[in-house]
Symmetry: D2
Subunit: 314 residues, 4 copies
């Protein structure tokens, strides 16, 4: 399968009119597609739980640099345990640490807030991009809008399983056809307020074959042809086991069409680098690709997203 | 009420024998009291949900220094939106940031892993404290043991409400008597696998009256006399809206008895600086102090805990 | 003495024409007033040395937060010595650390590069201020232009000594009259290529009376009326024991006139928060206020200055 | 030439007795070989200056990760210039940044303080290594002891030039024979209080052939057979364009013999990763391998060294 690229003009039209949600939830809205969440939706998600079994969709954070982690996370001990010895009798024995990271990129499981991308100097809902400033960070559209919790129904589209391959190649994408195949073959339905997870197998494969430079070797990810479906159905969060844009792409103006149309136009919350291999296995075992999922971003005012540990409950 | 301080000898006996869980779950156990969690427990928690309403128990992370935040969190933009202008036509417009923090302390909502405290050169389960080293971090007992997700029943003991006061004073603690009063008066039951939340009102009061130096002005928190109850009942996680030790305390050898006996002896997972005022209000409105709660620590190997956004669902 | 404030129109005229050095040393010049340095000047400075005695003009970097250090420097050990014991026989025993800091501000002795201030979207020499970007740092006018070394003659104007006071009050400045008094009374001469040091006593006083919020309590510093003298004489570097602008000031448009006219207009290199009390004592003892001085910024491409340890040799 | 490795027993004897300076300058001494500095020495150095020409011996700090920089320096803008446009009229236009780094390693030009290495739980001068703690840093033997300034005579031993090769191979070292050859052929004399610089050409070659993993590919550096000469002559600082230990080495107990005997036994100050190619060229042009040199470490209490920009003046 090759990506079914929409034309650049289509993308521009989607961004500016067809899929554009500016003003839909008020001129001061900060939540975008999280407005599709609801208590009813949360209750629906809970009703899917049968076993009480949890499956994490986060990849462990690595503190080492690599070709796709040029600025690695930091971890420093502020105090540690190897300074103590039994019998030496210092009573207050404690360990503390500092960690820090740039979570955006291609390896850390994280959610993007609506402050992550702009188009022509504007954010989602038509504010000036200057509301996200070098000095003060995201004075609007920070991750706080999601920190009331995303607890809803999740749907996994396991594209390699549906296509009968081991993984989706870099340069190929998971498109509308894959989602519709999942609906047809796995009996799921992408609905308003859902977290839609698209599996390519790419992140799992990275563990095996090693990191690559995405700018050189490209990436799998969601095809931009899914954007209208996301809008029609009212998807709350779209995620995958990639950085969520297929590379390279044919556009002159769009570097990251899913992020650019999705975040700026739809106000779409995107989950990058989710770890979906364990979830895929759990779904396959059960023959069940719908579930309750919780995504609980850290409460960080002015930050453009958050590392998360999305948790599915079967 | 004044704290009912156990004797130092009692604490030592609890730590070393009476409440000691070393070996209980195998000599290589890393989970401690999270072994009390179970699928049945998760299902029990879900059965408490009626409305689909979420309440966050996290305090927003502040990036400013203050008297109780001497080493403040960091937030730097790697790229930002105030560099763009409408009509200038740079198409890839993106914001990214770095954040870093020492989450232990008295202001950030976080969970302690079992690597956070030692006693006489030993960790929980009797390993040398040197497994938590300055160079490699927590090579055992890191937060990874909790990253499968804590999704279970929670119980709130709203001590000020029960006592008819606005808040528990610094220097005073929430003790066994408060928990038993909650069970008696609010119809709750602290059971195996629960997250037990003790509210003092202290963190909310900090918002109003400002930060203080805990080493000078003391702190409210759980009284160490609750430790046997935690053990008897099989509490999975104990948390409060404090740093979780009353200060000052009368002991010569124990600086933080709840942490020292709890973490090292019981293998207790502790939730520090939870934001419980919104939850207390929600419980009071509903006359219901038991609920489903999810705590989803970040997947950070070698780190001694994680900032979290604990989420209650009614 | 009160500050002899030039009019805002004068400042604007100085910035844009009278004292403006744009193009003076070529359109690609990155060095500004460091062009006044020369080998002859270095030899002149050496000829002042009689004793071989060094005096440091740096204040120790503090890693603690305070009212004028809201974002404190960081220091983490990567490995340390308290993990070892005599007789335990681990042979590779080493300590390493990480330090990091925002050096600009009011406490760290540092030199500003010409990338530190802009005026109306332009840098020194008339480039767009966008050459200093959030993503890439100072792609021009970084501190590299000074890393060939500033080894030249220094002159100390000890304003409190000249005025017979203990220190210059916050809100008051060291002006042209003080410099001329020093020339008259101390037999010095401010010449081309000099490092001109203006002492107020403010930083030393901070050690005694504690930090203040400069935005509230104001600051001493060089009066902007010295700018023409700096230009006439060809001063290479101007420094003081302050953040180098008197606060508050009467201007509508200039927040930091010395920095704004100095850096942007003259291409002036400014040394902030120099520790001048030891030097003042050494000068007074010798009755000699001219000396050799070395300022050796770290070689940090894209950085807007550098912490330094300026060294005087008598 | 192959390295003339002393026996391990010799190294131990040197460390503990023959070259041991413990107590030589008092039991509280923090300066070690910097005690060899003197005003006379500084004056001698100045007398070598003829031209007033400076040559920097620092390599630019790189903020990118590479195989020998696994934990790269950090650089973040706190505010930047690309947010401004001419004519928009925001008057306070400023750029500020944060930088941070682990300077120890194989790429950053830095000086080691005496807190950098230990032997059998002890520091130079026989203190417990625990004076350098994970929590408080170097409470003794920090870099402060050098911040009065190192301004003295320098001698360059240009080993490739003396041997008629382009560079010294990894695994080979610069030894006593090279130093004696320099004295014989270049007319220099290594004397008390000198900064002795040994050039291998390795750092310059790294610019051309790229970084390598020193633990795999080894390193050139000073041979440990120079340690007695350093002691006899009273060298104040020894540096080279390497990490200053030849690798691999044949010892069971010594991982870094020059650092271990040098720092712990002699109290030797070591300059790592100096950039010596420009200096070598300047020396060759002049037929002069002795000069004045200034090394001015940052005033950082509790830090185990400092990045520096060593400056030679001809």
């Amino acid at each position: 399968m090759t990506v079914n690229w929409p034309s650049q003009d289509d993308l521009l039209k989607w961004l500016k009119s067809d899929l554009n949600n500016w003003g839909r939830w008020g001129k001061d809205d900060q939540k975008g597609t999280l407005n599709h969440l609801s208590s009813e939706k949360t209750l629906q998600a809970l009703s899917l739980v049968e076993e009480g079994v949890t499956v994490s969709c986060a990849r462990p954070i690595e503190f080492a640099a690599s070709v796709d982690v040029p600025k690695p996370p930091q971890h420093f001990m502020v105090t540690a345990g190897d300074r103590y010895r039994k019998g030496e009798g210092v009573d207050r024995q404690v360990a503390m640490d500092y960690f820090g990271l740039i979570f955006h990129g291609h390896t850390v499981t994280h959610i993007d807030s609506l402050a992550h991308f702009f188009w022509d100097g504007e954010t989602y809902n038509g504010r000036s991009s200057s509301v996200v400033s070098v000095q003060d960070g995201a004075t609007e559209f920070d991750v706080m809008a999601a920190t009331g919790g995303i607890v809803t129904k999740g749907v996994l589209v396991d594209a390699p399983l549906l296509r009968g391959v081991d993984y989706i190649e870099r340069g190929d994408g998971v498109g509308r056809a894959d989602i519709e195949a999942a609906e047809r073959e796995h009996g799921v339905k992408v609905e308003q307020g859902d977290v839609l997870l698209l599996r390519t197998g790419q992140l799992g494969r990275r563990e095996v074959t090693g990191p690559v430079d995405v700018n050189v070797d490209g990436s799998s990810g969601p095809s931009p042809d899914i954007l209208p479906l996301l809008h029609e159905r009212g998807v709350a969060v779209m995620g995958s086991d990639t950085g969520n844009d297929v590379g390279p792409n044919p556009y002159e103006r769009f570097s990251n069409p899913v992020h650019q149309v999705g975040i700026v136009g739809l106000g779409l919350w995107i989950l990058d680098n989710a770890w979906l291999d364990d979830l895929a296995e759990a779904c396959k075992q059960r023959g069940k690709w719908e579930f309750m999922i919780s995504i609980l971003p850290l409460k960080m005012p002015t930050v453009t997203g958050s590392p998360v540990n999305p948790m599915v409950i079967f």
